[in-house]
């Protein structure tokens, strides 16, 4: 049987050259094999072809509105088993990117309609080439295939192997480890150890009287005596403000904020109450929460 291709379009007319290039990409088709139907959506009744008589069907549409289900079923009826159909959308609008977003919803609707009609391997092709005259651009192409088996065919079931996560049967993906260079694979150099203790980056208070301002080089932690705890005082005035305002050598570092001269019950005291368990000296990097790994 002679191979034949059908171009359906909702335009009123289409130049011969454009029609031919629309079916370009499907093999072994010459000029004689192409049939064109314009104003395709206005056809009533079925397409005037025998079932399973066409090898390629291309529908070029300018409108974002999709044809109904019956239309797709009719297309699949006249398509030969195993052969392909392609749905292409053109747009005459300038801001096509906006269009594509408007269409992305219907593109899934299009996918659904194709699937319901019985097409297989429905997929969206991204194409950049332009096939129509200047003021229109090709927006998207969806290809689908009619099943190569027909009603009544049979095949045997193979013994099922239990699926496993690690098995890679996706042979059409590249090996991602090949993306890493020698450099990438070398053991990473840890940056110089950040101080968990008194931070050398802490600034001294503006009116520091604890001695930090003079002794930037040395780390001198002032001892927190029980007397200081009962009767908190601070020469610089910052100690009671909380950790955010204390300098690196502040004896009160780690304690909640307080008022000078008296100890208050503070909002976060509940934290101390809840922590019944003995403390564990675990050296953790600061990434404990923030690690995305």
């Amino acid at each position: 049987m002679k191979q034949s291709a059908l171009l359906l379009t909702d335009s009123d007319f289409v130049p011969v050259g454009a029609a031919l290039s629309a079916i370009r990409g499907f093999q072994d088709l010459g000029e004689d094999d192409l049939l064109v139907i314009t104003r395709a959506l206005q056809l009533t009744g079925q397409l005037p072809f025998e079932p399973a008589s066409l090898s390629v069907i291309v529908f070029a549409s300018k409108s974002l509105e999709l044809p109904g289900e019956q239309w797709f079923e009719d297309v699949i009826r006249v398509l030969k088993p195993g052969e392909r159909s392609s749905y292409r959308l053109f747009s005459s609008s300038r801001s096509w990117r906006q269009d594509i977003y408007a269409f992305l919803q219907p593109s899934s609707a299009l996918e659904r309609k194709l699937l319901f009609a019985g097409f297989l391997e429905v997929h969206l092709i991204d194409m950049k080439s332009v096939l129509q005259p200047e003021d229109t651009t090709l927006l998207l192409t969806m290809k689908a295939k009619k099943a190569s088996w027909v009603v009544g065919s049979s095949f045997s079931l193979k013994k099922r192997v239990l699926p496993k996560i690690q098995i890679e049967d996706e042979l059409d993906l590249i090996d991602e480890d090949s993306l890493l260079t020698e450099e990438d694979l070398k053991k990473p150099e840890l940056p110089p150890v950040g101080d968990c203790e008194v931070g050398s980056t802490r600034k001294a208070c503006k009116n520091c009287t604890c001695g930090r301002a003079e002794e930037e080089q040395k780390v001198q932690k002032l001892a927190l005596t029980s007397e200081l705890l009962d009767n908190p005082k601070s020469a610089c005035g910052s100690c009671g403000l909380g950790d955010a305002f204390r300098c690196g050598t502040c004896p009160y570092r780690g304690l909640p904020p307080f008022q000078l001269g008296k100890r208050e019950v503070l909002l976060s005291q509940y934290l101390k109450k809840k922590c019944r368990l003995p403390s564990v000296q675990v050296s953790l990097s600061g990434s404990f929460l923030a690690a995305d790994i």
Binding site: L124, Q166, P191
Partner: protein, 628 residues
């Protein structure tokens, strides 16, 4: 003929715990401040990869997770990009840049970002700047590298495309910076509007699940768990180790209030923790609000009119309920942006200055010391800056979302129908400033009294450990709480054996510090290692435990494995699958190395060939579940 290209800056993030998302949000904000006319910040799983070629400029912010993997939200996208049939010119019109968040303590440091950057280049993308690599080990975390990388990015983008980025320099003078507008709006309802039946009683389970789902949907995005699959009741809470040991590990048994538990061994249970009611109350009062008032929270939609029908479907909830379920007030730390916004609402001058300092590049390191390394909570920060009065919609946006915590399931549904078990260690540690911190979820679970208390919202999903068929020999390595999923494996195989199925042997290596102190589930393992059990040495399996501190020199699981190399090799060459689980970052790599050494010795291969053989092992495979 010009294809009208999109004129926007697209920021795509692959985030696991929200950090990469925060970083991506910052990219978006800074772009706007530099005059970018159109920016969109999206998670990669909200973007159709097929549309990449139509973009102008795409910035990727990706975390490396697990064992050097892409974040879950990125797996589909990544698979798409890896297709062989993508041409090397596919992205020829797209300019891109990649920033990675990782941790140099791991061998596979920032692998996700490295691979992505290379792949984008290979398929035609034009890099604007070199990839940036953020490192948790840096003294100010990932921001150490981020600040520099961002500056270089803005410079490059401004040069390349001044229409898209008019100003490369942000006006860094804090006094002239403007406050952005919040992402959410909060509607307060008067009591008169509320019908008495607005509050749900938890006796109606579906109602409760729906409420939780609706509340969390008000402010949480796609990556969060919202409507619980299950509401669980705790029925057993058993301390597994002696109280003089320096840790608290619990065996917890749950049943579902609606008797509908469906899971497989190796699956993961996600739990939404309850917060301390005192903390929630304190937080609400600090925000000068009434915990019992009713609110609706919704994203602010700029430009378009808001769809008012959305209001109907989400009835208002009590403020307290919203905070309890969606906002983490006493556990997770806020990010830098929180401090930046706070500075606009500080009435005390010294507080304002300090907050501006923390938000600046100069103050970044100090902020990291004060906030991230100390695990400063939102409540503590608000307490440290008492003059700050943040409007509630800002608190909604900036407080970390309340996250679920994942635990490996330690039971088999065959052995315990309608129950799910967990093995949980109540985490505590001391910060650099010598403050005691404790993990929110683990400690709360440890304290729940069985059969009392509110139902626990939970979800179940598959993890990294695939349930093995009964006929497959197994080598399991699970020190400490890593033994949890393997308890399920052993229970399951024992049950299958009892039903008459032909089962293959299991070889299990356990490790802990002291035989007498923290030998988790000792009786269980020992009983299954008796003759005829699934862990019996006679059948080719075995149970071996390493007690690291019971002798002078350290003995770990990998040492025990080497001791039993013949046994290990016999199973490996017979097609055994290897499963490794535990809470240590380095342990899986050490175990795999030990396996490679065993293969090399027993099969007479060099170490490289042994490595390849191990990885290509088709019948078996290596499964690793590691948590921090």
């Amino acid at each position: 003929m010009g294809l009208e290209r999109s004129r926007r800056l697209l920021v795509l993030y692959g985030s696991q715990t929200g950090t990469a998302q925060d970083a991506a949000d910052r990219v978006g904000r800074e772009a706007v401040r530099r005059g970018c006319p159109s920016v969109d910040v999206l998670s990669v799983d909200e973007f159709d990869a097929r549309l990449l070629p139509s973009e102008d400029v795409v910035i990727f912010v990706v975390s490396t997770t697990g064992q050097g993997d892409m974040p879950d939200s990125m797996k589909e996208f990544w698979k798409f990009l890896l297709q062989k049939n993508i041409s090397d010119q596919w992205l020829e019109h797209v300019h891109y840049a990649v920033f990675g968040l990782g941790d140099s303590a791991y061998q596979k440091y920032n692998f996700a970002a490295k691979k992505l950057d290379r792949r984008l280049l290979n398929i035609g993308g034009k890099p604007l700047v070199q990839k940036g690599l953020g490192d948790d080990q840096h003294r100010s975390g990932y921001e150490g590298a981020f600040d520099l990388w961002l500056s270089s990015l803005w410079n490059a983008l401004h040069e390349k495309d001044p229409m898209l980025l008019p100003r490369s320099i942000d006006n860094l003078d804090a006094s002239t910076q403007c406050l952005d507008s919040p992402k959410f709006e909060v509607i307060f309802h008067s009591i008169n509007e509320m019908v008495a039946t607005g509050t749900s009683t938890l006796s109606d389970l579906n109602c409760a699940k729906n409420l939780i789902g609706k509340v969390r949907s008000m402010s949480l995005g796609k990556s969060h768990y919202k409507r619980p699959q299950y509401l669980l009741q705790l029925i057993t809470n058993q301390q597994l180790i002696k109280s003089d040991a320096d840790a608290d590990v619990r065996h917890l048994e749950f049943e579902s209030s609606s008797s509908d538990l469906r899971y497989q061994v190796g699956d993961v249970l996600e739990v939404l923790p309850a917060q301390d009611p005192d903390a929630v109350e304190a937080f609400i009062r600090r925000a000068n609000l009434d915990p019992d008032c009713y609110i609706t929270v919704r994203p602010k939609v700029i430009g378009k009119h808001h769809d008012s029908s959305a209001d109907m479907s989400t009835p208002p909830v009590k403020l307290r309920t919203f905070v309890e379920l969606a906002m983490d007030v006493a556990s997770a730390s806020p990010r830098r942006y929180f401090f930046e916004v706070m500075s606009f609402f500080a009435s005390a001058e010294h507080e304002k200055e300090k907050l501006q300092y923390f938000a600046s590049p100069e103050g970044r390191d100090d902020l990291f010391q004060y906030n991230q390394k100390e695990r400063r909570t939102v409540l503590e920060v608000l307490e440290d800056f008492p003059s700050v009065q943040l409007p509630f919609e800002w608190l909604v946006q900036l407080a970390p979302p309340l996250r679920t915590r994942a635990f490996s399931i330690s039971s088999s549904p065959l052995a315990h129908p309608d129950q799910v078990h967990l093995t949980v260690k109540a985490l505590t540690w001391t910060t650099p400033f010598k403050r005691k911190r404790s993990g929110l979820c683990s400690n709360w679970l440890a304290g729940v009294v069985p059969r009392k208390g509110v139902p626990i919202p939970a979800w179940i999903h598959g993890g990294c450990l695939a349930a093995p068929p009964p006929s497959e020999p197994l080598i399991l390595v699970g020190p400490g709480t890593g033994c949890a999923p393997f308890r399920g494996f052993v229970e399951e195989r024992a049950a299958q054996k009892a039903e008459g199925a032909a089962v293959a042997p299991i070889l299990f290596f356990f490790g802990c510090r002291n035989q007498e102190k923290d030998f988790l589930y000792r009786d269980f393992w020992v009983s299954h290692a008796q003759d005829g059990g699934v862990l019996a040495a006679g059948s080719g399996g075995g149970f071996f435990a390493a007690f690291s501190r019971d002798q002078v020199h350290k003995v770990y699981v990998q040492h025990k494995m080497k001791e039993e190399r013949k046994r290990v090799w016999r199973l490996l060459s017979g097609g055994a699958a290897v499963y490794i689980a535990g809470s240590s970052a380095k342990m899986p790599a050490d175990v795999v190395t030990a396996l490679e050494e065993i293969v090399a010795e027993e099969a007479g291969l060099d170490s490289e060939a042994a490595g390849r053989w191990l990885r290509r092992q088709r019948a078996g495979g290596i499964f690793i579940e590691a948590w921090s």
